[in-house]
C-alpha cells in the first residue's frame, strides 16, 4: 500500500484557506495548513490559495520567509503545486494589480478585465462558467468538457505560451480558466466552491 501523499496548503498570511482544507477533508484526504519551511520541505504536494490584493499577497509571501523553500520545491524538486485564483495569479511574472513582480513561474502577466459591453459584463466577474478542456491532463480526469466552475475575480492570466493553456472560458473575451506547465497547475476558478466537479478536481490533484 502506498503512503498517502503529504499535501501542504501554504499559509502566507492571507485568509480563507479553511474552505480548501475542508474540501480536501471531504474527499477523504488529509492536508495541513502551514507556514513552516520544514513542512514545505517534507511535503509531496503544495497548494497556493488566498484572496485579496496581488501586491499585498506578494508582500506577505516575501515576508513569510518561504520563498526559497517554495522555489526549491517547485522549480528544483518539481513537486506538484496547485494555485487557486489569486494563488495562480501569483505564479505569473507581473500583475497590473499593484504593478509588482510575481513569482515568475509561468510565462504570463496578470491583467484586469477591460470590458466594452458594460451593461452585460460587470467586474468583478462573479459566477459559474463552463470551461473548455484544451489539453489532456491528470487534473481533468473524470471532469466532463464544459463543466461549470465558480469564478470570483477581476484579473486574469494573459499567457505568453499557449501550450500552458489547460482550460479556457469566456467573459466577453476568452481567458485561461486553468493552466498546466509540467508540475505547475493553476485554476482561476474555485474548485473548493464548485460542488462535485470541484471536489473531483481536488481529488485528481491530491491523488496525482
Amino acid at each position: 500500500m502506498s503512503m498517502p501523499s503529504k499535501v501542504v496548503i501554504v499559509d502566507y498570511g492571507t485568509g480563507n484557506l479553511s474552505s480548501v482544507k475542508r474540501s480536501i477533508a471531504r474527499i477523504g484526504s488529509e492536508c495541513h495548513v502551514s507556514s513552516e519551511i520544514a513542512d514545505i520541505v517534507a511535503s509531496d504536494k503544495l497548494i497556493l490559495a488566498g484572496v485579496g490584493h496581488f501586491e499585498s499577497a506578494m508582500a506577505g509571501l516575501r515576508k513569510s520567509g518561504l520563498m526559497d523553500a517554495l522555489e526549491q520545491a517547485v522549480l528544483v524538486d518539481k513537486k506538484p503545486i496547485l494555485g487557486i485564483c489569486l494563488g495562480m495569479e501569483l505564479m505569473a511574472k507581473t500583475s497590473e494589480e499593484g504593478n509588482v513582480k510575481g513569482l515568475g513561474w509561468l510565462d504570463a502577466n496578470v491583467v484586469r478585465f477591460r470590458i466594452a459591453d458594460k451593461l452585460r459584463y460587470k467586474v468583478p466577474h462573479i459566477g459559474w462558467n463552463r470551461v473548455k478542456v484544451k489539453k489532456n491532463s491528470r487534473l481533468m480526469k473524470k471532469i466532463p468538457d464544459s463543466a461549470e466552475f465558480y469564478f470570483l475575480h477581476s484579473y486574469y492570466l494573459n499567457l505568453a505560451d499557449h501550450s500552458d493553456l489547460l482550460n479556457e472560458t469566456n467573459f466577453e473575451t476568452a481567458f485561461p480558466a486553468a493552466v498546466e506547465k509540467n508540475n505547475i497547475f493553476g485554476v482561476q476558478y474555485h474548485p473548493e466552491k464548485s460542488h462535485q466537479v470541484g471536489l473531483q478536481l481536488l481529488k485528481n490533484f491530491v491523488e496525482m
Partner: protein, 248 residues
C-alpha cells in the same frame, strides 16, 4: 456565455430561519442548516444568509453558525449581519466565506467600505441596499431592517459604494419583500445601468419567469429570492426548492 446566479436568501432570526412580508410578519420556516444542506444537494449557485436583527441589536452574526454552514456546503455563500469592523470581516471570512455583506453600516459610515475593500479586495465586499418608497413614492435607502431612512437615493448610493470599492451590490425592495408579485425591474435597471460592478436583484420574485425578467430586462447579474425557494403553492406551504435544469 455568462449566466446570472440564482441565489436563495435565508433570513436568520435567533437560531431560526424566517421569512418576512415587507420586512414584517416574520414566519418561522425551520432550521437554517437543514435548508443549507438541501440547497447544497440541489447544487444551487450560491447562498446568502442575513441575520436580520444583528445590526439593530448591535451584534455580529453568529460565527458558530457561519462555521457550521461552511462545514455543510460545497458552494459559495455570503453572510451579512452586524458587520462593522475590519476584525468582524476577518473573523467571518476566516470561517470559509467568499463575500461578506454589509448593509446598515455601509450607509452609516460609507468610508468603511473603502477600508474594507483596501484590506480584503473588492471581490470580498458586497453591499446590501434596502430600498423603500417614501411618502412621495420616491425610492429611498433604508437601514436597520427597514426601520430607519438612511438619507440616500439608491442610484446615488450605489455609485458611492462602487467608488468606495464595493465588489457587488444587492438591491432589495422592501415594498416587494415576500409579495411574490415580481421584482421592481425599474429600480434594478436604474442601478445596473449606473454601475460597473455586479448587481443582485432581491425582493418580489414569485416565479421563474420573474427571475428571467430580472436578467433580461433588469440586467441583474444575480437573481435572488426568499419566498420563491422556501414556499410552495398558493397556501405557502414550506418546501425548500430550487429551479431544476438550467433557466439561463
Amino acid at each position: 456565455m455568462h449566466r446570472p446566479r440564482i441565489i436563495p436568501v435565508l433570513l436568520l432570526k435567533g437560531r431560526g430561519l424566517v421569512k418576512s412580508v415587507r420586512f414584517k410578519n416574520h414566519r418561522y420556516i425551520g432550521d437554517p442548516l437543514n435548508a443549507a444542506r438541501l440547497f447544497n444537494e440541489f447544487q444551487a449557485d450560491e447562498l446568502i444568509f442575513l441575520d436580520i436583527e444583528a445590526s439593530h441589536n448591535n451584534r455580529l452574526i453568529s460565527l458558530e453558525f457561519v462555521n457550521a454552514v461552511a462545514e455543510e456546503v460545497t458552494m459559495p455563500f455570503s453572510v451579512g449581519g452586524g458587520i462593522q469592523t475590519i476584525e468582524n470581516i476577518r473573523s467571518v471570512i476566516g470561517c470559509g466565506v467568499e463575500k461578506v455583506i454589509i448593509g446598515s453600516y455601509a450607509a452609516q459610515d460609507p468610508s468603511f467600505i473603502r477600508k474594507a475593500s483596501d484590506e480584503f479586495g473588492s471581490s470580498t465586499i458586497s453591499v446590501c441596499i434596502d430600498v423603500k418608497k417614501d411618502l412621495f413614492r420616491r425610492d429611498r435607502v433604508r437601514i436597520f431592517n427597514g426601520r430607519k431612512a438612511a438619507g440616500f437615493e439608491p442610484v446615488e448610493f450605489a455609485q458611492l459604494m462602487e467608488s468606495n470599492g464595493a465588489g457587488e451590490l444587492i438591491i432589495q425592495s422592501v415594498d416587494r419583500d415576500g409579495m411574490m408579485n415580481g421584482y421592481d425591474i425599474g429600480l434594478i435597471k436604474a442601478v445596473t445601468s449606473s454601475v460597473g460592478i455586479p448587481v443582485v436583484a432581491l425582493g418580489g420574485a414569485g416565479s421563474e419567469n420573474d427571475l428571467i425578467k430580472a436578467f433580461e430586462q433588469g440586467h441583474a447579474n444575480g437573481v435572488a429570492a426568499g419566498s420563491l425557494f422556501v414556499y410552495h403553492g398558493e397556501q405557502r406551504g414550506v418546501l425548500i426548492n430550487y429551479p431544476s435544469g438550467k433557466l439561463f
